[in-house]
């Protein structure tokens, strides 16, 4: 009996140790995949493959979507709610222009075999493949041409939103894996860029994706305005109907402006979507702001003023400091910013810094943005 206290002590201390081990040691100690900025997905090495989790498959979702990526010949037995995807993929159908540069930067442009409304794609490399008939147009993204998709027999489809009962849902039922890329829900610009790792993983190119991301991250951090002196005031958006669409204070566009050294006029707002504001409150708040970045794309200031004469009352309009992001338009009318701008957050940031301080970044000239001429 005299050993009993010792026994209890041992048992107790053992169990305590194991609890501590579980809590303090990160579960991904041996996980070669690190996600730093993106909050929408994570990657864990598991016994029979790689577990890829998309945490918010659609805005406000409470249940994640899990994929088990495997490369061995025999199909692993997975849990019921885990979709199995054989990697590396040999080809893919993408559904958003922001997916195109993810493939191109990984030298995987030839893997794209289908896209809805190919006219929206601007990159010359992929445009050439479209013109050569190597990328098939698969109709409207909301109502994909299922027969066209099936005839392409893709290894997977990269979607961007899960619509219950939609075409994408049906394709899943037909056995084509639908991989959800929800980069647009990220709050940090580098979080959006980091989705290249998601794509890299699917094609067995994770290390390349990682180094591309590192380069973008380095450039972003170097370009970022580090002195925390309040910069010039900036606002964004335009009025449509009765509402002015303004990025929320925690929106990724707001983050880019702040990182470029501006003071965003709605920085105190706590939402990350778009605010629908009354024109008069925008005027009251931003009338004296020095910069207006990202109004509706008008060719000249005169056109902008004609669209609504009240735009002329803004100081930014009067001083001509109005910039839009349609500097690069593709051969078939697509906007390059909406294609490449999410991956190359560093280039967007460089543009924004250059707008604020034309003397900065002497080797850089505006890429996505252009000043609206008088």
């Amino acid at each position: 009996m005299k050993y009993l206290p010792l026994f209890f002590l041992l048992v107790f201390s053992c169990s305590e140790t194991s609890q501590v081990t579980e809590k303090e040691v990160p579960t991904d100690l041996h996980n070669p995949y690190t996600i730093q900025y993106a909050t929408g997905f994570d990657i864990i090495q598991v016994e029979n493959g790689i577990l890829l989790t998309v945490k918010e498959p659609f805005p406000g979702a409470d249940k994640p979507v899990k994929y088990l990526l495997y490369d061995q010949a025999d199909i692993p037995s997975g849990e019921q709610d885990v979709q199995l995807v054989k990697i590396p993929l040999n080809n893919i159908i993408c559904t958003s222009t922001s997916h195109i540069p993810l493939l191109e930067y990984l030298s995987l442009a030839d893997k794209l075999i289908g896209f809805p409304h190919t006219d929206y794609i601007s990159s010359p490399l992929t445009r050439k493949r479209i013109d050569d008939g190597k990328v098939r147009d698969i109709g409207n993204v909301e109502q994909l041409n299922i027969e066209a998709v099936l005839s392409l027999a893709p290894d997977a489809i990269m979607g961007y939103a899960m619509q219950k009962g939609g075409a994408i849902d049906r394709l899943k039922e037909l056995g084509i894996p639908v991989l959800l890329n929800t980069d647009f829900l990220e709050k940090h610009p580098l979080g959006r860029a980091e989705w290249i790792k998601f794509t890299g993983l699917l094609f067995g190119r994770y290390p390349e994706a990682d180094s591309i991301f590192r380069a973008i991250e380095n450039d972003y951090l170097l370009t970022m305005d580090k002195d925390k002196v309040p910069g010039p005031c900036v606002f964004s958006g335009s009025v449509y109907g009765d509402a002015w669409f303004m990025p929320g204070g925690k929106n990724y566009a707001a983050r880019l402006l702040e990182d470029a050294g501006y003071t965003y006029a709605w920085s105190s707002d706590s939402s990350n979507g778009f605010l629908q504001l009354d024109f008069e409150s925008v005027y009251d708040h931003a009338a004296d702001c020095a910069y207006w970045i990202g109004p509706a794309p008008f060719e000249t200031l005169q056109d902008l003023g004609n669209a609504d004469s009240r735009y002329k009352n803004f100081t930014a309009f009067q001083t001509g400091n109005v910039y839009t992001y349609d500097n690069l338009i593709g051969a078939t009318g697509g906007n390059m910013y909406l294609e490449l701008g999410y991956l190359r957050a560093d280039l967007v940031l460089r543009d924004l810094v250059k707008i604020r301080d034309p003397a900065a970044l002497p080797e850089h000239s505006l890429y996505f943005y252009r000043k609206i001429v008088p």
């Binding site: 449509y240 024109f279 409150s281 004469s309």
Partner: protein, 338 residues
């Protein structure tokens, strides 16, 4: 209620709401400052002056003009077709405007008008409604029966609706959003230069309706009766159609298809003054339309907050229960219409 009392009441209400809609908004401007701005003495903050002069006054004026125009248009259509469910859009005019705007926004057809800037959508809408207008005139000169005209208008409406859905199918999400926002209805985009065009058209439409108010009275009793009363049915019908097209076409082109007002307000005003004499009914409907749209717009602005609601959501959400309540309470819509 006796006519003069009803008119005084409506006038007072209109005045109060007009002042209220200039005074209340997402930005708080002290009332003495507003008075000083209206009296031309300026304000202590220059942005306030812009807010009152460039935002609130044109918006309130638009609400008055559009509200009365739509209500009168609805009244005319209900009399012409002797149908309580008729409204400004039954002739398909607003569908025509929607088609014009959809072609411009979704199909990117510029009609050679892209130089017009802010007028572009308005002109596209006007072109669309003019197209429908002329086809209605052609049809109305060939068919005698008003019901045929009603069916023609409805068919035209669904055909243009179908074209719009095909266009949407092939359009970019951003363009679809711009189009959808247009269909929500808005009063804030009408600046003074646009008011200078809208006001005369609406005034002409209402004036024409007023001149024809005797014909409207007789029309309610049926075409045969009207003919036996010596009314030139064809001429009157053409006049009423022109008036309705001017009103619905111009208003939809400038402000989008604004729901509810045109159907409901004529009923409200009939219940209020309890007559089917359009000489009285028409002006009171115009006043009531202005009052209701001003109130709906006030609510859509969510005073005190920076946010706005779509105008059509408010007109339908707030308006429909009011109408149901009034109908249940009084319940003589049919009697007042015939």
């Amino acid at each position: 209620m006796n006519f003069s009392r009803a008119f005084t009441l409506l006038f007072m209400l209109l005045l109060i709401l007009f002042v209220l809609s200039i005074s209340v908004g997402s930005v708080t401007v002290p009332f003495d400052e507003i008075l000083s701005i209206i009296l031309g003495k300026g304000a202590s903050k220059s942005s306030w002056e812009h807010i009152i002069v460039d935002f609130r006054i044109p918006r309130a004026l638009t609400a008055v003009v559009v509200g009365s125009g739509l209500a009168v248009c609805g009244l005319e259509m209900q009399a012409l077709f002797r149908n309580a469910l008729a409204g400004p859009f039954v002739l398909g005019i607003s569908s025509g405007a929607s088609l014009g705007v959809a072609l411009a926004v979704l199909a990117g057809i510029s009609f050679g008008l892209s130089w017009m800037g802010g007028w572009f959508l308005v002109m596209a809408g006007l072109l669309g409604s003019a197209l429908v207008f002329f086809s209605i005139i052609v049809v109305s000169s060939r068919v005698r029966d008003n019901m045929t005209l009603l069916i023609f208008g409805l068919m035209l409406g669904s055909a243009t609706g179908a074209i719009v859905s095909v266009l949407q199918f092939f359009s970019k999400a951003e363009d679809i959003q711009i189009y959808l926002l247009w269909t929500f209805g808005n009063l804030g985009g009408v600046t003074y230069d646009k008011l200078a065009v809208l006001i005369p058209i609406v005034f002409a439409g209402i004036f024409l309706g007023f001149i024809l108010s005797k014909s409207l009275n007789v029309m309610l009793l049926g075409e045969h009766y009207a003919t036996s009363m010596g009314v030139n049915v064809r001429g009157s019908r053409l006049g009423i159609i022109i008036s309705a097209c001017l009103l619905a076409g111009a208003i939809t082109a400038f402000c989008g298809p604004i729901a509810f007002i045109g159907i409901a307000v004529p009923h409200l005003s009939r219940l209020l003054i309890n007559t089917s004499n359009h000489k009285v009914l028409l002006p009171s409907t115009a006043l009531a339309g202005a009052i209701i749209l001003l109130s709906c717009d006030l609510l859509a602005q969510l005073p005190g907050s920076d946010h706005v609601l779509p105008l059509n959501a408010v007109t339908s959400l707030v308006g429909a229960p009011v109408v149901i309540w009034v109908i249940l309470k009084k319940g003589h819509i049919k009697r007042s219409l015939s």
